[in-house]
Amino acid sequence: MARTVNGSFTPVPVSHWSTSRPVHEGSDSGQYGELDIIENNNFLLAHYNPPIVRCTFRPEGSGYLAGAATSYGGANCVWRRRPAPDFAQYTIKIVATNTATAAGHAGTVKFEMDSDSANVEIAVPENTSDQTTFTGELAYDNSETLDNIEMYIKNAATGVCRVWSVHIAPKPLTALAAGLMESGAAPMDSIAGVQDAPLTVYHRELAARNCETLRKARVGTCVSYADDFTRATAGQFEATSATYQLVAVVPFRTLPGEVSLEWALFGHRDASGSGGGVKLVSSLAEAEGTTPTEVTLGTAWSSPYNGSDHDYTNVGETTLAVAEATAGHVKVYLKGDGTYKAWLMGLAIWPKAVT
């Protein structure tokens, strides 16, 4: 009796499932069979984990996404996302450098959740002159509807620590508890697969429904952009014009059943200005001429920036309608007030879970 989680998927030869052929117990019986189905089902429950952040930065000057002092200042980047169901730990991969040469002068990169301050610190040792990958693990409370992942960079007494890219994905599960998972899937137990006794209707149905649940609940991510948030009056996406300027296009490919996109963004406008905004237009909205989603930017801009985020849950700021199982795009427009600038500092878009 075990809810086995293998580290790899076991492809079953197609000829094994010929019509009316008996289904073997499988796995340890020397034949493919029910246990392979069960273990593959559990493998998917543990490993089907699309990443939520993939961000490569274009440095703007020597201070871009670099530590400024020996203690943490304001957040250097923030990503706002809905957590993936079923996963409580996330694997963070950063590519970083540290110009310090003195022994023990490691820079530090900290990731922290806005909701509960759970955090992880990743050391970047001295003499890391080449871009090098470092790993950390962050607890992410998946009961939150949306949460902000904040990144902070700190130098040692000498040298400059800099981050060049960030990748965050749910950490694969190594064990599966009995009962329903948050997504609604339920791990399968080897006790259900016995030689010459194919899975019961209940277990066969469960295996199939687990597949449906995974496809519907664990969605991918279209974009997860972040600028250097410490730049208060500069940004890679900025606009002065009082009419919307196209600043980015985000292509996506939806799976069957995915018909709307959720999103979250960070932005602000010059405090001296009178207006600024962001407009998101999906290819479906463009084709059908429906009202685009618009955000009116405010002037607040201070760490940890949770007063400057906008998302699909706000009044008047809705999800983006898209066509299922197809390729499309979201056009991102930005405007200022004609005299003063507005800045789009962060943007995340992901498919809404299928219901």
Partner: protein, 186 residues
């Protein structure tokens, strides 16, 4: 460990996911098992949307490096760029002996000529059976395994000339399995 039966393991062809209804009275043989196996294998082979990378525009003179979570059954990784201007883009990864290169001519690239509105999407070509040399226009090879894994990728931009530059507004990375005719490794 290979088991009995032949060893032909293919992903399902043109699979359309839908709920399975299991009937009590149906013969409890392979009919239902094959449907579940198809769905599971489809899930193991598909690649859910992974984030594209945007950021104003990427420019020459910098090595852009990142870690990617490469899903199981990924044979190749293909880069696409939204570009404007003239130059070349080189990509490489830990798993591939050789680098790949694409030459871009999307406008002159001369100062003042760059425009996001006029940018074009260019993709590297598909994989080659055996690359054998650097700088070919092709998808990068990755180790084709039945387990997900991380791998390091990097890309660089080189302007065509001192006065003709290349801007990259977006980077998309597709992880691909070969096609329906390729066996899945055990």
């Amino acid at each position: 460990m290979a088991k009995g039966g032949d060893l032909v393991r293919y992903p399902p062809i043109k699979f359309d996911p839908e709920p399975l209804v299991v009937y009590n009275a149906a013969p409890a043989r392979s009919g239902h098992a094959v449907e579940v196996d198809k769905y599971q294998t489809w899930l193991a082979c598909i690649k859910p949307q992974q984030p594209v990378m945007i950021g104003g525009y990427y420019k020459a003179g910098i090595v852009y490096t990142m870690e990617l979570l490469v899903p199981q059954y990924t044979a190749n990784v293909r880069f696409g760029f939204l570009v404007d201007g003239a130059g070349v883009i080189d990509v490489e990864c830990d798993d591939d002996t050789y680098t790949a290169r694409i030459t871009v001519e999307a406008g002159s690239g001369e100062s003042g000529s760059h425009s996001f509105e006029n940018a074009s999407m260019v993709w590297f070509e598909g994989p080659l059976g055996s690359a054998g040399a650097d700088d070919l226009n092709r998808a990068l090879d990755t180790t084709f395994t039945s387990s997900p894994r991380y791998s390091t990728f990097s890309w660089t931009i080189t302007d065509k000339t001192g006065s003709q530059s290349l801007r990259v507004y977006l980077v998309d990375v597709k992880t691909e399995w070969p096609d329906e005719s390729a066996q899945l490794p055990a």
